[in-house]
C-alpha cells in the first residue's frame, strides 16, 4: 500500500488525506478538545517532543545523504560540508535561521561552481 501502489487518480489523494491530513488534524482537534487539561511542561510532552524532533531530524539527514533529483548529482561530501557550515554559521550568528540557510547554500553553490 505505497503511494504508487494503486494506479488510480484518487489513490495519491486518499494516501495524503489518511497519512497527512488525518495524522495531523487529529492532534489539532484533540488539542481543542482537551482545552487546558495538558501542560506544556509535563514529562509526557517532553517525550512527545523528543520523538517528533528525532523523526524530522532523520528525514533531514536522509535528504542530505540519500537525495534524489538534482541534489543527487552533487558530491555527498559537499552536501555534508554545506550542512555543517550552515549549522555552524547559525550558531555563530546567535541562532539566526536566515544566516544559517544563506551560509549553507553559499557553500553548496560555491562547491558546484568550482566543480
Amino acid at each position: 500500500m505505497t503511494f504508487t501502489a494503486i494506479d488510480a487518480w484518487w489513490w495519491p489523494y486518499l494516501f495524503i488525506l489518511v497519512a497527512g491530513w488525518l495524522a495531523t488534524d487529529f492532534w489539532r482537534f484533540l488539542g481543542v478538545y482537551l482545552g487546558g487539561r495538558i501542560s506544556e511542561d509535563s514529562q509526557l510532552i517532553v517525550l512527545v517532543r523528543c520523538i517528533a524532533t528525532a523523526l524530522v531530524a532523520a528525514v533531514i539527514a536522509n535528504l542530505v545523504l540519500f537525495p534524489s533529483g538534482a541534489l543527487a548529482a552533487t558530491p555527498p561530501l559537499l552536501r555534508a560540508a554545506a550542512g555543517l557550515t550552515g549549522f555552524a554559521a547559525y550558531l555563530a550568528s546567535g541562532k539566526s535561521v536566515p544566516v544559517g540557510i544563506v551560509a549553507g547554500e553559499a557553500v553548496l553553490g560555491a562547491g558546484l561552481l568550482l566543480a
Partner: protein, 248 residues
C-alpha cells in the same frame, strides 16, 4: 431598532479591521522565512514524483511543514500507508499541546466550538509563534478573527508559492534546482535546534540525524519510525537520568 443595527454594523466593521490586521501580520520576517521553506518543499515534492495538484493539496490539508516533510520522506522511502501515517502522526503530536496553549488565548465564553476546531487547522510553528506574540495587542473578542486572517493568509500564500515554484522548477538549471532542494534540510537543520525547549530536544535531533541514515540502510520500509522512536526514547532516557542526577 436602529440602534441595534448600528451597533452590529460597527462590530462587523471592527471585525474587518482586525481580520485585515491578521492578514498583514503574515507579511513579516517569520512569514518570509516560511515562504523560503515552502520554496524548498515544492522542489522536494516535485522530486518525490508528486504532481503539482498533489503538492498544493498536501500543503492545504496537512499545512504543518514537519508533517509534510515526513510524509514526502515516507513516500520517497516507499513506506506503506500505515507506516507513513504513523510516522506523520508521531511527528505531529506536538500540535496538540500547541493548540492547547493557543485556544484559551482566543476563546471567549461566546466563541462557538466549531470556530476553534476550524481555526486549529492553521496551527503550525510560524502562525503559532506570531499569534502568541501578537495576541496581547489584540482585543480578546477579536482574536479569533485576527487568527483567521493570519492563518488563512499564510496557508493560501504558501499554496500559491508551492504551485508557482513547482511549475518553474523543471526549467531551472541543475545547480539552481540543487540549491532549491537544499533549502528544506537547511531550514530544519537550523530551526529545529532553535525550537528545542530543553537539552533533550537537541540530543534527540543529533541522534535522529545519525540514526535516520543508519535505519534507511537497515530497515528501509520503517526507517523514519525506527529512527524517531529509538532516537526520541534514547534522548528522553538521557533527559530523565540527567534530571534525576541534577535535581531533587
Amino acid at each position: 431598532m436602529q440602534h441595534v443595527e448600528l451597533a452590529r454594523s460597527g462590530r462587523e466593521e471592527r471585525r474587518a479591521v482586525w481580520f485585515r490586521r491578521g492578514v498583514l501580520a503574515a507579511f513579516s520576517i517569520p512569514g518570509l522565512i516560511l515562504v523560503s521553506a515552502f520554496v524548498g518543499f515544492a522542489g522536494l515534492a516535485r522530486d518525490a514524483g508528486l504532481t503539482l495538484a498533489q503538492a498544493v493539496f498536501m500543503t492545504g490539508v496537512v499545512w504543518a511543514l514537519p508533517g509534510k516533510v515526513v510524509l514526502v520522506g515516507a513516500i520517497l522511502s516507499g513506506n506503506g500507508l500505515p507506516a507513513a501515517a504513523l510516522a506523520v502522526a508521531l511527528s505531529s503530536v506536538r500540535l496538540a499541546p500547541m493548540v492547547v496553549a493557543l485556544t484559551p488565548e482566543m476563546r471567549t465564553p461566546r466563541t462557538p466550538a466549531w470556530v476553534l476546531y476550524a481555526l486549529s487547522h492553521f496551527v503550525a510553528v510560524t502562525s503559532w509563534v506570531l499569534a502568541m506574540q501578537q495576541f496581547r495587542h489584540v482585543p480578546r473578542s477579536m482574536r479569533t478573527t485576527y487568527y483567521a486572517g493570519l492563518g488563512a493568509t499564510l496557508v493560501l500564500v504558501n499554496m500559491g508559492v508551492v504551485a508557482v515554484v513547482f511549475a518553474i522548477a523543471g526549467r531551472l538549471p541543475p545547480a539552481v534546482s540543487a540549491a532549491l532542494f537544499f533549502l528544506t534540510p537547511m531550514y530544519f537543520l537550523t530551526s529545529l535546534w532553535g525550537s528545542a525547549r530543553e537539552r533533550a530536544g537537541q540530543v534527540a535531533m543529533v541522534l535522529g540525524l545519525v540514526l535516520g541514515p543508519v535505519f534507511h540502510l537497515l530497515l528501509p520500509e520503517f526507517d523514519l519510525l525506527a529512527a524517531g522512536l529509538v532516537a526520541g526514547l534514547a534522548a528522553f532516557a538521557i533527559h530523565l537520568s540527567a534530571a534525576r542526577r541534577g535535581g531533587v
